[in-house]
Amino acid sequence: MKFKSQQLRVVSLLLVIYYLILAWMFNRTGYEHSERLFYAEKLKLLFEYSENTLLTLGTTFPTTSFLINVIFAPFGYLFAPVASSIVLMSFLFFFMAKDINGSGLPARTMIISLMALFLLHPQFIFAATSGRNIAAIMLFTYLLFRSLFFYYKNQTTYYLSLASLYLGALIFSEIKFLWLILGFLPFVVLVSIEGIKTAKGEPVVFQYYQALNNRSLRRKLVNRTVSLYFILYLLPLAAVFLFRVLNQSHAGDPTYFLSSQYSNWRVTGVSTITNILERGSGDNLSKQTQIIFPLFTIFLAPIFISAMILFKGKLYELLTIFTPLIFTSIVLIDIQYYLTTEYFVIIPVLSFVALNFASGIKLNRFMSSVILLAGTGLTLLGGLYYFKETSDFDEQRFVKMVTDTPSWFATKKNSEEKILADYIGSVKSADRPVLIDDAAAYGVVAHLPNLEGLVMPLQKNFITVIENPALSVEYILIAKRHNLKHNFTAMNAYNMIVMRDRLNLRSNRVFETENWIVYSIR
């Protein structure tokens, strides 16, 4: 059975509607992921702020996700990240479903399995509705590996170049995927032997024996391998180099896009191991060790095991499928953060690459279908288990919201940021400005109706104002001590005490939420 593109487009569109409904319901409960708010605030700065527009556009990272969000900005800054995630997920579904046509497995079972994942898998739903950049990571991961398999099939450089472009897009969705380059190193050598006409039909080891013991063949093998490395790696590596140069020239620091809380959500948004350990939060962190972690990712996505059982392909194709596991092992070196959903959800995505491009019926059609469906069912359970034990605070809030079903149907709730923004919006004006540091308070800025009457770090006079705020602003927004972003902003409880002592600042607490206080200082 073959699926027509028209049919798949309709299903993809229905999927968009399904995700939109879910996103709307989640939004009603007051759930907003901090990364979504980060993008929303950057979009607001980009379109509504006249100063340093290029800094916002050029250094906000992950670049790919941010630029995609820019396309959706006309639908509203807060909605744009969610809309882009939903659209990217539907694209992902379309490509995966389209590729089923080329698979050797029963098409109906495959589409059922795929639909189950997209409709029910918690990580897929989270990726689509949270406004995080997970959807971009999933899509580009799939496109990258899909292009590689097309290359294996057709041996045309076109697909290799596409793979290179997608690898670049993936790296600019999450910089750690740069390590995939190391993961790809061994299999490229195996691919190279394909192009060398030696001992065809013999085992790969024998082909290598021949190639390495003949001067001419050895030279050819090396040349071809180096060429493949260049074509695959040059664009992403050059793009990273260029981005570093641009950051150096513009922000004075080549790693500004990675280390500055103003340009990268991860600096403040991802839960650090220290914070998690302090709060004793979730059990997944304990699996975040070498050897255990790759196995754990497979444990949560048994569809990968199904794909391996049904695998029919060459050694380098198998190695390609295993690359993300090598990658996750490398990522764990010197990691200070909890690895969130995106590192887990790429495994089912990869499984579908294997199922679509390098699988065939084993035993018989029925048994193959059983293997596939069993893998899918267990993967759904794996997704639930992941969220049950997640150590990330934002993800825990998501779980709490989803499991609190009565809140879905209760009256609409506002998030803390929204409540705070409503207050600030009601008091700020050009005469009574508010000093606010969007390093930590980007969520508040994202909810403000406009940027008038604010003094923020993007402005040239920010340093002057922060030296003696009472001279320039009416209000200041201060992060409380237990606010997780407390240490990333100059406008925190500690500095408030310092300012009070140093400047003899008269301050009145005029509004307060769980993590923030608004002071009047005049």
């Binding site: 050029g58 290799l160 170049s161 001419s216 030279r219 060429s227 074509i231 180099f241 020239s249 513009h250």
Partner: protein
């Protein structure tokens, strides 16, 4: 049956009846004298023939120094003179008309001439090459003028005789004037604007090239004509195929040329090969004369007329062509042996609106030095990736200098090549598109000699870039008309590909200069011209542009498995500087010497095709 020299050669054992029978077939098909067929289709060496004539009592007269009564020549048509190789000289005072002929024993020719001149004819022997030289010089004026001015008469809008039209000059001067004015009024902001504008043009042009190359890479393994299809072609169904070989002072390459032609897998009697020699090129003519083995081409002498360009010579050659299809090779070219059969097979498969097929060009001396390596990379991406990419986009394809195969009748309909354009091939590609015909790409390669000497390279490249500028100016005289003819897609394709190529090379050193000035002199004054945001965009465009161009060059190695060249792609920014030098030289010549043909010296390589092929074969041995 009329007797000719060849019959007499058979009687003394210097020739065979079987060969004569073959020659008769060729002579009938081409309407040539038998001796012409014998000398030009590889049956007879000139030296052997001359010695036979002398021993038979026919010493050669030097027609180039004989006294001529031109009134007799004027009664003859050049095409007939050329086909039967004779030249009426004068009355000998005894009632005979003295006629120099390549075959003084040709009874049929004698009969024809006696009727024509109503006089007794006395045939004297002369070198066929000298007769050719003389008849073209004396009677070629009409044809050479047609070669030069025919396109201008038929389609003045497409002729490059006028380099800049009044409107174009006005536009250029207004643009320059406006630029100077705004720079005077507000230097900093104007400078920033121009800097950004040019840097975006630079990046856009390269991104477009990458896009086309990626499109082209999809067809990397596509064989439009398979080996099986070539095998299935039957020799007796093949049409006559014309090969034009325009040469100038290529005496060292004549032997090689014959070997290369011999390796073509095409029936000898159906190959109409024309060696086009300029009137003042005695070097090449003598090289042909002194050959020790039979030549397999016909020599055509192009009478002197300005401009002295390859397209003019080719147009002249067109009057003498007999083929259904026509292609052009350079003297040093080594085409794939099955190229002509592939072309015939592909033309038979394609719709009728395909009137040109472009073969890929590459180099046999690629590993000679850095320059030849870079040139090989460039040609590989151009012919293996860009042309298929352009074809898939259905935009005008600038044809390559050689190995473009035409349907002869369509080529004549198009008006041949523009003799005033120094990249006549690129121009013709656009004109083909304008007439709603199509250019295809055939999966066959011709190996050429890569330029291995920097100054020679710059000469050649300056001509190419100048030609692109000429082509742009000619076809952009009336942009609205161009859009109507080739549509918006074709219009943009043409401008981005043909127009932006010289512009990019001209801009490159300027942008590089800006960047170096900023890096070296990081002064406050310079910073005024490079505010942060300008710098950001400039750096992005410049670095991204260079990287993408390196990447496109790297792609080039894959189709032909020239993997050992990939690292040389990194040198591309320096190679581009050489392009820029050539571009400025081309621009200078466009203004001062628009029709001047910068001659590229060939035969500089120390490598031969056979030695490089042997090296490749050794490398392939397991």
């Amino acid at each position: 049956m009329p007797v000719c020299a060849l019959n007499n050669m058979i009687s003394v054992g210097l020739f065979t009846t079987a060969k004569l029978e073959e020659i008769d077939v060729i002579a009938d098909e081409f309407e040539y004298a038998q001796i012409k067929a014998a000398l030009n289709f590889g049956y007879l060496t000139r030296k052997l023939y001359v010695s036979f004539l002398e021993r038979s009592g026919f010493p050669l007269v030097d027609v180039r120094n004989e006294v001529l009564d031109e009134s007799f020549v004027e009664q003859c048509d050049l095409l007939h003179l050329n086909a039967f190789l004779y030249l009426p000289m004068r009355n000998d005072g005894k009632g005979n008309l003295l006629v120099a002929a390549a075959d003084p024993m040709d009874e049929r020719l004698q009969g024809i001439l006696e009727i024509k001149f109503n006089s007794k004819i006395k045939l004297v022997a002369a070198s066929d090459l000298d007769i050719t030289w003389m008849v073209h010089k004396l009677r070629g004026e009409y044809y050479v003028k047609e070669s030069v001015f025919s396109l201008m008469r038929k389609d003045p809008e497409s002729s490059g005789l006028t380099t800049f039209t009044d409107a174009q000059l006005l536009f250029i001067f207004i643009a320059i004037g406006f630029a100077l004015l705004v720079l005077t009024i507000n230097f900093v902001n104007s400078f920033i604007f121009f800097n950004l504008f040019f840097s975006f043009v630079f990046l856009f042009s390269i991104v477009f090239k990458l896009y086309i190359a990626l499109k082209g890479s999809k067809y990397e393994l596509v064989e439009v004509v398979t080996k099986e299809e070539v095998k299935a072609v039957k020799n007796d169904t093949l049409p006559v195929y014309t090969i034009l070989l325009p040469v100038y002072k290529e005496d060292k390459l004549i032997r090689k040329l014959i070997w290369n032609l011999r390796s073509l897998d095409y029936p000898r009697g159906k190959l109409d090969v024309k060696l086009l020699i300029e009137e003042d090129d005695d070097k090449t003519l003598n090289a042909v004369r002194n050959l020790d083995f039979p030549a397999n081409f016909e020599t055509i002498v192009v009478p002197f007329h300005m401009p002295k360009t390859k397209p003019k010579a080719c147009n002249y050659g067109l009057f003498f062509c007999k083929g259904i299809y026509l292609t052009i090779y350079d003297a040093e070219d080594v085409p794939d042996s099955d190229q002509l059969k592939k072309v015939v097979s592909l033309f038979r498969k394609l719709p009728k609106d395909y009137v040109v097929l472009q073969g890929a060009l590459n180099y046999f001396n690629k590993n000679e030095n850095l320059l030849t390596r870079m040139f090989t990379l460039e040609y590989s991406y151009w012919f293996d990736y860009m042309l298929p990419g352009l074809q898939s986009l259905d935009v005008p394809i600038p044809l390559g200098g050689t190995s473009n195969h035409f349907k002869l009748d369509k080529l004549k309909e198009l008006g041949g090549w523009d003799p005033f354009n120094v990249t006549e091939d690129a121009d013709l590609g656009v004109r083909v598109f304008e007439k709603r015909y199509k250019v295809g790409v055939v999966n066959s390669t011709t190996l050429e000699e890569a330029n291995n000497e920097p100054f020679n390279w710059i000469r050649q490249r300056s001509r190419w870039i100048k030609g692109y500028m000429q082509t742009l100016l000619v076809h952009m005289r009336n942009p609205v008309r161009l859009v109507n003819k080739i549509g918006w897609r074709g219009f943009f394709g043409f401008n981005f590909f043909v127009g932006f190529t010289p512009i990019t090379f001209l801009l490159y050193p300027v942008l590089l200069g800006f960047y170096i000035i900023y890096i070296i002199f990081d002064l406050q004054t310079v910073r005024i011209l490079f505010p942060d945001w300008v710098l950001y965009i400039s750096i992005f465009n410049f670095v991204a542009g260079n990287t993408l161009m390196i990447y496109v060059n790297m792609l080039a190695v894959f189709k032909r498995r020239f993997y050992e060249l990939i690292l040389f792609a990194l040198v591309n920014p320096f190679y581009w500087l050489m392009h820029s030098i050539a571009a400025y030289k081309g621009l200078w010549q466009l203004i001062y010497k628009p029709f001047y043909w910068e001659k590229t010296n060939h035969g500089l390589t120390k490598m031969s095709h056979s030695s490089s092929a042997a090296a490749a074969a050794n490398a392939n041995e397991v």
